[in-house]
Symmetry: none
Subunit: 208 residues, 4 copies
DNA sequence: TCGTAAACGAGACGGTACGTCCTGTCTTAAC
DNA sequence: GTTAAGACAGGACGTACCGTCTCGTTTACGA
């Protein structure tokens, strides 16, 4: 729960718009949102490689300068969008049932990728996240870290309940739960609840 | 075994260079290799997004036309390179030891990503593989499929030896073994032998 | 002499700064001068084509709005400046010596162009004066007209004194006296007293 | 006559297109002409200050790069155009009649300014010719110099015929003949044959 | 051995997008 | 209501690449 607030704070956006009235005309929130919306639409429609700020500006009804005034680059703009979209799919509720919670860890990831704009957007940004620290580092420090924390909590509760081995490495557990989802995102395979169940069950009982 | 030949055939290259002598000056293999080499270097140096055929042509000492005569697009060129680079890291030898072979499945993937140009190249192409069927479909049909086949063989041998449960789903097993590697490639974490061991051991004995 | 007052009134400036106390904060004369000064400096430094109101505002320490509130356009601003700078070089004193006065007509023009900011400023505005009635018409109606009037007076005195032919066309005389100066300004050649003498002597005695 | 060739060579254009086939696709003359035509039209329609290479490119049906490949700047492009347009109005034929030839010197200048695209183009470029050596120096070295040479020849013939004083300074004569024309171009007044006659007659007989 | 035809390098070409600069208008808070 | 500050939509800048094209030259083969 507290973690949700944490996640929500990912929505980043214009950092702390509160108080401190700088001189001159203040930046418009409406414009800010119009740009992010146009960006999201265009990434979904055409992919990140074909995202052009000229088109974003046109669709948002905004001058290019207005975009560059707020974000240093296409990547920075995409990052803000990505963080905002990721937030809603990170939290795992404490249900008292370890298998259920582990399944939620996988399902959350699947749902984010298949049922929201987060899917197309991160698909389009995978290379940049992997390649470009300017985009990857903040993403890892927020979204990935939040997911690791959520799953660590699930593991901890599972151990407490006596459902899981005491020596489970939470990082490796995260990778075993979520890694397969991203594997299928890139390398093919259905992303559905059956897959989530299958991953969790295989993982719980082991291959041996 | 047979799969290695299979994998080797991935080297693709100019499809069927044999026979059918067309009239006129034949295409030069030297030029072909120079282009692929320049492409590899530039992807590694600058990433796929900053790969420009104009630069490839300049570095390879080649006219742009010569590149377009052979590949329809930047993606097609990158794909050929990718398939050639992937091949050497797919085979898993039958050692008689199931845990060893499973560890090899993970280590092979790690080695390919960290010790060869395949790493930077696929990192640069992840988004396109996920997004762009023109690149993703052939990649999945060859490299990913080859890897699934190799791991399926390992699983089959493990079951035969009585080391693994009879109901193991080979696809899910592939994803549980290799997914964590790609997770770390994108989302951070060491890619080394200790990690391979950790993944395999957790997976063999299960979380419960 | 009376013409000098006439000329002085060219200084134009904020039209009728007198009386009529409008409500609200009154406009600042200091600001007005700061803008004109900055404009003059920037035209001299970089030419009219590279004169940007943004820079004028910055150098004058003034908001852009403040400039637009006073002048409708860059041209209008430049025009006011031009008229102010032109005024001091128009008057020709009655010395009793016709040749001297004709020489003064040429020398005045030369002095204005070479020894004051009027030179760089009009050089920068020649095309606009020739091309753009918004700038050219007021310039012709004030500065050029004042010069024609001054020279007409010189001619009249010369005729009265018996120094000049009675049928001299004063407009053509103005053009023959001052035209060569502007010809050299644009098309090369020294602008000095020797040239002034040369023009006047050739003109007095004729080519034949 | 020989001077006509001289003048014709002003047409400048792509300098000496002869021989020496550089590698690669050769530049297209058709494109070259299309650009100059579009430039001429746009300068006439809107003036030099409002000449935008983006519009030239659009009207000529040409990429911007193609323009920048040939001319370093808007000014360089305008210069080539200007030199080509100036050439036809420079020659003064030997008619045996000095007054006629002097009148031709003035009339030629008037005709060039009023009956050809040279008028609007030079009007638009006056400031740059006066201000910017990159444009002014070549203009002075070709067009202005050619005009000085033509008029010097007229003067020489006039002296030979006994029509003109032996001590006439040809440069000052040029300025007295053509200066008034440019004065009126900028500062108002009719540009017609009557004016030409008036200038020549006043000049021949002198003011005194 | 010579002609033919495609490959080759070079680079021009019409375009699109870049990121920057400036325009003229606007919106705010301070005076 | 004026002021400084600066956001805003828009448009042009000059550059970089795109993918296509047109040159002159090179290279292998088959007649």
């Amino acid at each position: 729960m507290g973690d949700f607030d944490n996640a929500t704070s990912l929505q980043a956006g214009p950092p702390t718009r509160l108080a401190v009235p700088r001189p001159g005309r203040p930046r418009s929130d409406k414009v800010h949102r119009a740009i992010l919306d146009a960006t999201r639409e265009l990434i979904v429609e055409r992919g990140f490689a074909n995202l052009h700020l000229e088109h974003v500006a046109a669709r948002a009804g905004v001058g290019k300068t207005t975009i560059y005034r707020r974000w240093a680059s296409k990547e920075a703009l995409a990052l803000e969008l990505l963080l905002a979209l990721a937030a809603p799919h990170l939290v795992i509720d404490d249900t008292g049932n370890t298998r259920e919670e582990l399944t939620a860890a996988v399902s959350n990831a699947i749902r984010g990728l298949t049922r929201s704009a987060f899917g197309p957007v991160i698909r389009a940004l995978l290379s940049n996240i992997a390649d470009n620290p300017a985009l990857g580092d903040p993403f890892r420090a927020t979204v990935v870290q939040a997911r690791r924390v959520e799953i660590a909590a699930v593991i901890a509760r599972g151990i407490e309940r006596g459902d899981l081995r005491r020596d489970v490495n939470t990082d490796v557990a995260t990778e075993l739960l979520v890694g397969p989802v991203y594997f299928r995102l890139m390398f093919g395979g259905e992303l559905n609840d059956e897959f989530a169940t299958s991953v969790v069950d295989t993982l719980l009982q082991g291959l041996a």
